[in-house]
Symmetry: C2
């Protein structure tokens, strides 16, 4: 067990999913801040915004009009990074100039017709609707593609150009870097320990408790031992579930419940619409055995100490390795202490 010292002095922690280290410098917590501020977003938006290209009935950038949808609404990205037709041959004659054509598709998923709500402020039934749509889209795209990326960029700090609650789905015929890595690390763990990495991890965290943020019957959210972002969390089912498609009915309901509670805590932390990028990792759609895979979501939120002060992953982080100040345990303690009633009443 780590001694008490580790929470006070510089150390590295190992991320067994990514096979990488993070530098933790808890003693640095007190340094003053002179840097850039983001503008905190506290003004209430209208439930429907005529200038929003995601609102029901409005025209999109590409020219098409949205239907008068209620609940979730999925449409093709007007400027997709991936296209269904791969063109041209792979280039592999020189090992330093290797490229390969790819096939894929990109969609946008509106979480609700309500322009003014975020996941934290949607009713649980609305989040349940999002969960069902994620599952539906995954099933659909898995027919054509090996990997389906489900993610959400939330807030201007995360490059999200429209506050209307929405996420993205990018499917591809290749396994992206992060999936390839998690596939390898989880497979190696299963081989060495005959157990599932993230299930072992979750059981141990339920025992230790000091990094747990919130849990219910089927799910647990922790600030992982190896967290990089100040208030990063990992959301995992308590049972062995390789893919979203494998979730039972109660597990889906519990997922909506814990998403509501986790994102509400996030918003309450700095009394702001808490920005983050979040997304799902799960077994890819290949013929290989996927028993080593455990479904999970990563939340990567940039804020550090207020609605306007974020952690910058820059020189040392980009060129050497990720660095954080506060320990994962301190971050979890703060999040655990927050109420699960949103600081702003919701006008449903």
């Amino acid at each position: 067990k780590p001694g008490t010292n580790i929470s006070l002095s510089p150390h590295r922690r190992f991320n067994p999913l990514k096979n990488e280290w993070v530098l933790v410098s808890p003693q640095r917590n007190l340094r003053p801040w002179q840097g850039k501020s983001e503008t905190p977003n506290t003004v209430e938006k209208p439930p429907h915004d005529t200038s929003c290209y995601l609102c029901a009935g409005n025209k999109r950038i590409g020219g098409a009009a949205n239907p008068e949808y209620r609940g979730t609404y999925v449409f093709p990205n007007d400027f997709p990074a991936l296209l269904p037709d791969g063109i041209g041959p792979a280039s592999t004659d020189n090992p330093l100039f290797v490229s390969t054509p790819v096939r894929g598709t990109a969609k946008v998923i509106c979480f609700s017709e309500r322009h003014d709500l975020t996941m934290a402020r949607l009713p649980v039934a609305g989040i349940r609707d999002v969960v069902e749509t994620w599952i539906e889209q995954t099933a659909l795209l898995a027919k054509d593609y090996r990997w389906v990326a489900i993610f959400e960029n939330k807030g201007e700090a995360m490059g999200c150009s429209n506050p209307h609650p929405h996420g993205q789905i990018w499917a591809s015929d290749f396994l992206p870097n992060e999936i390839t890595t998690e596939d390898k690390t989880q497979a190696a763990y299963l081989q060495h320990h005959s157990r599932v990495l993230l299930l072992d991890y979750v059981l141990e965290e339920m025992e230790r408790q000091d990094r747990v943020v919130v849990e219910n019957q089927s799910w647990i959210a922790v600030v992982p031992y190896w967290a990089v972002w100040p208030f990063e969390t990992l959301l995992v089912p308590k049972r062995h579930v390789p893919r979203m498609l494998d979730l039972t009915v109660p597990e889906k309901a519990d997922l909506a419940d814990i998403l509501k509670r986790l994102t509400t805590r996030y918003d309450n932390l700095f009394k702001t619409d808490f920005p983050y990028s979040m997304g799902w990792h799960s077994a890819p759609f290949t013929d290989r055995s996927n028993e080593h895979w455990q479904l999970h979501a990563h939340f990567y939120p940039p804020l550090l100490r207020s609605a306007s002060v974020k952690k910058f992953m820059v020189g040392y982080e980009m060129l050497s390795e990720p660095q954080r100040d506060m320990t994962a345990e301190s971050a979890a303690k703060v999040l655990r202490g927050l109420p699960e009633t949103h600081f702003r009443p919701t006008n449903e």
Copy 2:
């Protein structure tokens, strides 16, 4: 050789240094922008700012006063992420909760007493002074540490809290993730090809020319084939040089020359103090053979299409893999076409 199609349709390229892929979506170049803007920085600053904690003679945050320095000035970081005394034992009993104490130190290096200049606007002799200081500090810290990270975060977009031209030096008793990876990939290349990876790469780029931004007798700067950031560059000596300590006198002079020319082009691109994080990678200070290592600098600039529009590395990038729109060849062409006279006259 890649066909003409590759510059128009989605593909992946392989980064042999990081052993990772990047998704390239050239067809996405035309999408409109609705997102966040940074404030472009065009106001001239005073040569000396009494409120700047890096200016000569002024008080620092920690309370100490800077001397009346001219040229470069190195001092210990007032809030170091690393400390010279490692405390506590490594924790390795559970493979999912591995941590290890670390030793290290962090310093700040002011590039000049001039508050208003950046590397692009310093005289070449001033940049030469910076190069000498990098080398001096590396030699000094290599006595105690296995790795010396030399880097610069420039601009508010890169979390740099003070415009006074300065960089950082973090030394550690461990090899950070990025160094471990580049060490492995370069060693494997030497073993398979009996040649140095980055030297082979540079020779080939000198031949192909389409990714070259600027070169002189001893150095070349290219937008690497596998670039992730829109205007990312890689700066490499044309001769086999494992470490900065191995540079000859003319190579140091040529380094100052090419740094001036490269950073001037960057500033001229969007007529702004071009933000970036840059840093040096070189053979670590270990007993092993380092013949596979080639010294190089990475420049990671965030701007995409104006002084205020940056590329966000968010959901897909963090959770799947890096994605870029414009090809490396297009970016290099743009940078190559720019003048080497700074858009703002320097008051020396």
